[in-house]
Symmetry: C2
Subunit: 186 residues, 2 copies
C-alpha cells in the first residue's frame, strides 16, 4: 500500500472530460473521453480504461529554502471551484538527464531554465501538483497536474510555451499534453 501514490486513468469514467490529447514529443496515447484520479496504486483500474499512469507525491528535489517560501506564500490548493480547466502533462527525460548529478540538474533546471521562477510568475492563477513515476518503473518519469480557471487559459499556454523553450526541455524525450474540463462535481 503506497499512501502517496496517485493513479490517473483515461477511459469513460471520472469527473474530468478530456478535450484534447496531444503528443508533444515521442509516442502518443489512445484518446480517452474522461479521466479519473485516485490516491492509490489502483491495482484494478476502472473497466474501460484505455491507459493508466501512476506517480508518487514525493519530497522536494530542487527548490531552495527561499524559493519554497515564495511558492508556499502564493500557491493555491487543488480543487478550487472556479478552476474548472486542467492539464495533465506526463513526460520522461533522457538517460543523459538522469546520469547528471543533482547540482548539474539544478543548474539546468533553474539557473539556466528558470523553471521554478517561471512557475512562480503564474501563481496563484495556476495550481500545480507533481508526481514522480520513474522509481516506480512507470513509463513516465513525471506526471504534472495543473488546475486553473477558464479566464487563465491563455496564461497556462504562456507557461507551457515558456517552459518548452528552455534548455531543460532539451532533455525531454517524451511528453503528452492532455487538456480537460470538469463537468461533474466529485
Amino acid at each position: 500500500m503506497n499512501a502517496r501514490c496517485f493513479t490517473f486513468a483515461g477511459g469513460d469514467t471520472g469527473p474530468w472530460r478530456i478535450t484534447s490529447t496531444v503528443p508533444v514529443v515521442g509516442a502518443g496515447l489512445p484518446v480517452a473521453a474522461r479521466l479519473s484520479i485516485a490516491n492509490s496504486d489502483m491495482a484494478q483500474p476502472p473497466a474501460g480504461a484505455l491507459w493508466v499512469m501512476r506517480g508518487v507525491a514525493s519530497n522536494e528535489r530542487y527548490v531552495t529554502v527561499k524559493e519554497r517560501a515564495s511558492l508556499v506564500a502564493v500557491q493555491p490548493q487543488l480543487g478550487r471551484p472556479e478552476a474548472s480547466c486542467a492539464a495533465l502533462i506526463p513526460m520522461s527525460k533522457s538517460a543523459r538527464w538522469w546520469a547528471l548529478t543533482q547540482e548539474e540538474r539544478r543548474e539546468i533546471l533553474e539557473e539556466k531554465s528558470a523553471h521554478i521562477a517561471t512557475g512562480l510568475k503564474f501563481l496563484p492563477a495556476i495550481a500545480r501538483k507533481l508526481h514522480h513515476g520513474r522509481d516506480l518503473g512507470e513509463p513516465f518519469d513525471f506526471i504534472t497536474w495543473f488546475e486553473y480557471a477558464p479566464t487563465h487559459a491563455q496564461a497556462f499556454e504562456d507557461l507551457v510555451g515558456l517552459l518548452r523553450e528552455t534548455e531543460e526541455w532539451q532533455y525531454v524525450e517524451r511528453e503528452l499534453d492532455i487538456r480537460l474540463v470538469r463537468d461533474i462535481s466529485e
Copy 2:
C-alpha cells in the same frame, strides 16, 4: 515491471547466511536464516520468507560532480570473490528530514556529517549499493547493501560507527543492521 527494483527476502533460501539481525533504532524484524536478492519486485517472494523489503537503484541525489569523480575512481563492483562478508542496513528517516529542502538535506548529510567523504575513506575495501524504498511505499526509506572481505570487518565497524555519530543520524527513526556471510556461490 520495474527494471531497477531489487527485492531482499529473509527466509530459509539464498546464497547469503544471516549471522546477526540487530535492531539499531526502532522496531526489529523476525530473525531469518538466509537472504535471497532478486533484481525484480518479486511479487511472489520465496516460500518461507519471514520478511521482504524492496528498493530501487535510482539516480544520484547528493554527490557533487567532483565527489562522484572521486568515488567512481575507486569504488569496487559488487560480487568480488574475496568479499564474502556483507551487511544489509535498512533504515527510515523522520518526517522532519523529508520536509527539508534538498539544500538543507545536503548541508546536513555532507557539510555537517561528511557522509560521502567518510564512505570514500573506506574505498575500495567496502563496496556499497543504495536502494530507495520510500517512493515505493515500502517500510524502509533506504536499503544499503555492503560487501567486504573478512580482513576488512573492523573497517566496516569503523565506518558504521562513524556514520551513526553524525548529525544526519539524528534523523534516523528506524534502522536494522543485518550481517551475512556468503557460503553458497550464485
